[in-house]
């Protein structure tokens, strides 16, 4: 609690040790300061006391009954005993009752070895049981949803999972049902437990009741090799542990004290999308396209072919795209090697996002909790930066911030937290609470003009914290490293601007681009104008793609280079708040022995081109130095980031908006079989008003037409929070790319098919 410096300090004595803590500190927390562990099941530092498990009993002098340490604030002069005979007897008594019905299946329980019940029973319990009667028999493997399995017998009803869904996410899907000894954890009848954060309950569960489907019966905790790293699936950069065994990632876990970045939570993408590392579809050898067929070649040949193509082309007809999924070091080297080879056409912006750093107004993730209002512009951060969205929910539901969304939209029904939806930035400013002193602006980084208008509109005198949620994990790092046509490293100006991605694609379509090198990016799926990028890739004679999988872009390449993933390399990444975070290779991963990191590829290319390389010390110094200087001079929508893309046309029809989904994507998600069932169906979301006007209903199937282009069989979603006159498509679905209709498409709905007719066929049996 940062603001507690002025709070009165009290001294409490715990087991004879004096502890000085701010007034109001709970005994359970005060004890931690002297490394005294008071056992807890229901208490959790992020959720506060619940007072249910009764295991944290302590003796307080002057109080006749044992007190629970989780809900007793330390007061001056309080004398607490955690190990006295009375306290030990109370704990023993409670523990015995825990074991009345808890099954002793520890040998086959995933939690065995890291189970709080097991540990406390060892530490505080009695050896023998007095229970003569059979234990309660309950379902052992309840399918709660796509990710989680519940063992009702093991559940000790601490309600941490229920409180997580209530207090932390606000989704309120997991609840307690029935009463007393029949209490069970459950969802609404017929509903799966499914939101973006379900996996956290497996960590909160003090016993082996809630387990991840992906980890069940996979490993004993003591057999795992653990490495701490940063998740790079989005730009939040949550710190996590990667636990490996037998050459594969078995699970990922959050860090208990990662207050600054993740607040100790992980989203389900970051937690569960780790199966792709061992997917058999991974590219294992460089592939060279000859007569339309890929053939495997060696790395030496690959570098030689690549360098030759670049050498033979005019530098102006060579371009490099990507960097947002690379490490800072890789991004730096990317621009360094290409710039030294005379190439100026560099851009990390392979998708819709146009700007990554909020510049002088940038705020830390912690600062989000201290604002009075949060204004979301463009796409909601819910699917782009899920764990940051949790912090927004925290600011709103527990710290009283007001959430204002400007024409924002998201793939969920209106979220569990209160928000004010407005149509324009002016309305948003008018809706700011009168007492507001600090405001957070959360922008998706797509529409430069909108971003600029929003920042300009904030009244003078309000402290503003700005955030760009973005599309790629290290977009901010790539931008700061100068993978940009207008900036060098550290946002240094360049003598002559290169072509940005729009320019490169235009050049390529007119036959002027000879070599395109694409690093860790899939523009064929994510660039807003699908037909244009397809034509550009086709008309460019030599396209090099570094990838883990045969993505839509890789398929169009001449040379495909097998790359390492984030858990397979070392380096640093920059998150959306500008924090530089470590990327560490997990222990002993197998499956891509012949792949190289993009850093290694760039070194190979540099050597083949005869370009001088920085030493590793120089590289490190350059990265840190340039990041430290990262631009204080610009703001949202600054002209330096280019001209805004063409505004929507005035043609009649529905303007196409693209919505991210953490479970959609053509790369790691599409190549993780275990998560296939989480991939959303292609849908077209429209407003209630448009649905009525167009005569379509929730669940209808429709086609979407724009000019001569068409998308087939989209499921209609009617949602209150879709702006009138727009249709929202899910971006990144490999088979139904949202960019298929072209840039800034205006579409019309055709071929409406009735929901019930469709349901009787394809949907029969689902949820019946």
């Amino acid at each position: 609690m940062p603001e507690n410096s002025t709070v009165e300090q009290v001294t409490v004595t715990i087991d004879g040790v004096h502890v000085r803590v701010p007034k109001g500190t709970l005994l359970v927390e005060a004890a931690k300061q002297i490394q005294r562990e008071i056992p807890v099941y229901c208490y959790h530092p992020k959720m506060g006391p619940a007072g249910l498990c009764r295991i944290c009993l302590v003796e307080i002098e002057g109080m006749p009954k044992l007190q629970i340490a989780c809900n007793t604030p330390a007061t001056d002069g309080m004398i607490v005993h955690t190990e006295s005979g009375k306290a030990a007897e109370g704990r023993r008594a409670v523990l015995e009752l825990y074991l009345v019905n808890h099954p002793l299946d520890c040998p086959i329980c995933d939690k065995g070895g890291e189970c709080d019940l097991q540990d406390y029973a060892m530490a505080y319990g009695q050896g023998a049981s007095r229970v003569a009667d059979p234990k309660a028999s309950k379902p052992k493997a309840v399918d709660l949803g796509p990710t989680i399995v519940l063992d009702e017998e093991r559940c000790v009803v601490c309600q941490r999972c229920v409180r997580f869904d209530d207090i932390i996410t606000g989704d309120r899907q997991l609840v307690l049902k029935d009463r007393g000894v029949r209490d069970i954890i459950a969802t609404a009848t017929g509903d799966p437990y499914h939101h973006n954060f379900t996996g956290n309950v497996t960590e909160l569960c003090p016993v082996g009741a809630l387990t991840s489907k992906t980890y069940r019966f996979k490993s004993r905790p003591w057999d795992l090799k653990r490495v701490q790293t940063s998740c790079t699936q989005c730009a939040v950069g949550c710190q996590q542990f990667v636990d490996t065994r037998v050459g594969a990632v078995q699970r990922t876990m959050s860090l208990e004290h990662d207050d600054a970045i993740s607040d100790s939570w992980l989203c389900d993408r970051g937690r569960y999308n780790v199966g792709f590392y061992k997917d058999e579809r991974r590219i294992v050898q460089p592939l060279y396209k000859q007569d339309g067929e890929f053939v495997q070649i060696g790395w030496d040949d690959a570098f030689a072919l690549w360098a030759k193509a670049i050498r033979e082309a005019q530098p102006g007809s060579v371009g490099a795209i990507g960097g947002g999924r690379l490490t800072n070091e890789e991004a730096y080297l990317l621009q360094d090697v290409f710039r030294k080879a005379g190439v100026r056409n560099l851009d990390w912006r392979a998708g819709r996002q146009r700007q990554a750093s909020p510049g002088k107004n940038g705020g830390s993730l912690l600062a989000l909790e201290q604002v009075d209002a949060i204004v979301e512009i463009g796409e909601s951060p819910a699917e782009r930066a899920p764990v940051m969205d949790l912090r927004i929910r925290k600011a709103v539901s527990r710290r009283g911030a007001k959430l204002i969304r400007v024409n924002s939209y998201e793939s969920k029904p209106p979220s569990a937290i209160a928000c004010t939806d407005v149509a324009t930035i002016d309305d948003a400013i008018a809706a700011l609470p009168p007492h507001a002193k600090r405001v957070a602006l959360v922008w998706d980084g797509v529409d430069l003009a909108l971003g600029k208008r929003a920042l300009d509109a904030i009244p003078v005198g309000l402290e503003t914290f700005a955030y760009i949620t973005g599309e790629q994990g290290n977009a901010r790092g790539a931008e700061a490293m100068g993978v940009h046509p207008a900036f060098g490293p550290g946002y240094a100006s360049v003598p002559e601007c290169g072509r940005d991605i729009d320019g490169m694609i235009a050049d390529a379509r007119s036959g002027k681009m000879r070599v395109l090198s694409i690093f860790g990016a899939n523009p064929a799926l994510h660039y807003p104008d699908g037909p244009a990028i397809a034509e550009a890739l086709e008309k460019t004679p030599f396209v090099v793609v570094s990838e883990l999988f045969m993505t839509q872009t890789a398929k169009a390449a001449t040379l495909v280079l097998p790359a390492k993933g984030a858990y397979e390399k070392d380096g640093t990444t920059t998150n959306l708040a500008g924090d530089v975070l470590p990327v560490n290779a997990a222990s002993g991963l197998e499956g891509a022995e012949n792949a190289l990191s993009d850093l290694e590829m760039l070194i190979g290319l540099a050597q083949a081109l005869g370009v001088a390389l920085p030493s590793s010390d120089e590289l490190e110094a350059a990265v840190i130095g340039h990041l430290a200087r990262a631009a204080e001079s610009f703001a949202f929508g600054d002209a330096a980031f280019g001209t805004p893309r063409a505004p929507a046309s005035d043609e009649p029809g529905l303007r196409v908006l693209v919505q991210s989904s953490i479970f959609a994507g053509g790369g790691t998600i599409a190549h993780d079989d275990r998560l296939a069932e989480l991939e959303p169906l292609p849908e077209a979301a429209i407003s209630v008003g448009d649905a009525k006007a167009l005569g379509v209903e929730m669940g209808d199937y429709v086609d979407l037409h724009s000019g001569d282009r068409v998308m087939h069989d989209l499921l209609v979603e009617v949602r209150a929070n879709v702006p009138r006159g727009t249709v929202v498509l899910i971006g990144g679905l490999p088979d139904d790319p949202a960019n298929a209709l072209g840039a800034d498409a205006v579409a019309t709905i055709t071929n409406v098919r009735n929901a019930l007719a469709a349901a009787s066929g394809d949907l029969a049996g689902v949820g019946a």
Binding site: L52, C53, R54, A93, N101, A132, P134, S137, V157, D183
Partner: protein
């Protein structure tokens, strides 16, 4: 016979559900007088001076409970607890059905006394008839200008909302009741904060029992001294005692606190012919038994507590020598296990464990070690829980285990291996 008729006056003689009848007997005069002549603080002062203690079970001084409210103008609520479900108690049920206007007037006085403009009554779900009767009474009162805005032209607004429970004993616990009133599971809340600070909707709230509030009416009418002049030193005034079990005339009897156990049994017609008194449970299912040697014990909070039990809600269950105390113990333990909200592990798991063991005893399948275990486990559950429900298991069980060990020993099985069910897997 020391029976009195204060709250029970007129019951069985007149149709007190009719507001005209009630008013003709002086009804609502006290509320009108309070509004016109007294300040809220005067009502609170009368309540405090009368020595009235909570009649729902805890016996906490009502005036003191009110005094914990913040001394400011913040909105606050009065909640009348009519979730009567303590085994053996049936007085609120009677008051609600027989004299609903008295209950309402008590609520109105209570709300005025604490400065609340919105009072609630939480009626046990099973009292469907009582609910309808009270709703009728409320509508009559509303039409008569006794509930609503600007009452008697004094500018005082008072709304009353009737809320029906839906089957949960634990909702009689005041914080569980507030949760239930808020549309939540009836789970007791973690305290602090106490309801007087943060109760209904997080605002200061007083929860009082039906009988407690009803006594405000005669206290207003006859004065605090009148009420305080009867009873014992610390247990003042009158109490409705719900006498049931093995007596000739079970029923609700109103009397001064301090009437002896023997007198109460006599009031209720005495034991059945030829029967011998074995035990009296003096304060509902949560209380330990009194026995023959307690016949001359004054029935007041202190004396009953001193005898190792409690007066509770005034449920007075008489058991003669036909009583199977093993079955009785099982019955009450099963009740508490069934009604445990399940939040706290000791209550949830311990209650069910004891129920399982006692069920075996009922079927003659007790184990020798169980006798000691029943004692120890019921004791170890006690004092460890968030609310008092878990603490309610031990008193009766322990008292009959101590008093009638032979009844339990007789149910100990000779071949222990036969006692336990073998197959727990659903077929």
């Amino acid at each position: 016979m020391p029976i009195v008729q204060v709250l029970t006056a007129g019951i069985g003689e007149a149709d007190l559900r009719d507001i005209a009848v009630y008013r003709q007997r002086g009804g609502y005069k006290q509320f009108e007088r309070a509004l016109r002549e007294l300040k809220p603080a005067d009502v609170a002062q009368l309540c405090d001076a009368s020595g009235l203690r909570g009649r729902g079970g805890a016996g906490f001084p009502t005036g003191k409970k009110w005094s914990f409210l913040p001394k400011n103008d913040s909105p606050r609520y009065l909640v009348c607890n009519c979730d009567e479900a303590e085994p053996g108690t049936f007085k609120d049920h009677m008051l609600l059905e027989e004299t609903p206007h008295l209950v309402l007037e008590g609520m109105l006085l209570g709300a005025y006394g604490i400065g609340s403009h919105h009072a609630f009554i939480y009626i046990r779900g099973e009292f469907k008839r009582g609910y309808q009767i009270f709703m009728d009474a409320l509508n009559q009162a509303r039409q008569a200008g006794l509930v609503g805005k600007n009452l008697f032209g004094t500018g005082f607004d008072l709304e009353v909302t009737v809320h029906r429970g839906a089957g949960a004993y634990i909702c009689g616990e005041e914080t569980a009741l507030l949760n239930s009133l808020e549309g939540k599971r009836g789970e007791p809340r973690l305290k602090p904060p106490f309801p007087a600070v943060a109760g209904l909707y997080g605002m200061p709230t007083v929860v009082n029992n039906v009988e407690t509030l009803a006594y405000l009416v005669p206290i207003l009418e006859k004065g605090a001294e009148w009420f305080a002049s009867v009873g014992t030193e610390r247990s003042k005034g009158y109490k409705i005692v719900s006498v049931s079990g093995h007596v000739q005339k079970p029923g609700n009897y109103e009397m001064a606190l301090g009437t002896t156990v023997r007198e109460i049994i006599e009031i209720a017609g005495g034991l059945r012919a030829g029967r011998k008194l074995m035990a009296v449970q003096p304060g509902g299912g949560s209380s330990a038994c009194l026995f023959e040697e307690h016949l001359d014990l004054p029935y007041d909070y202190e004396s009953v507590a001193k005898a190792g039990s409690m007066l509770g809600s005034g449920a007075f269950l008489v058991m003669d020598d036909t009583t199977d105390f093993v079955k009785a113990a099982y019955n009450l333990v099963r009740f508490f296990a069934h009604e445990s909200c399940g939040q706290c592990t000791p209550c949830r798991e311990g209650g069910h464990w004891l129920e399982t063991v006692l069920e075996r005893f009922v079927h003659g399948n007790g184990l020798r070690d169980d006798l000691d275990m029943l004692h120890k486990v019921s004791h170890q559950i006690t004092g460890l829980n968030l609310c008092a429900l878990g603490d309610s298991i031990e008193p009766f069980l322990a008292s009959v285990l101590d008093r009638f060990p032979e009844q339990f020993q007789a149910r100990v099985v000779r071949a222990p291996q036969d006692a336990l069910a073998k197959d727990t897997v659903p077929a």
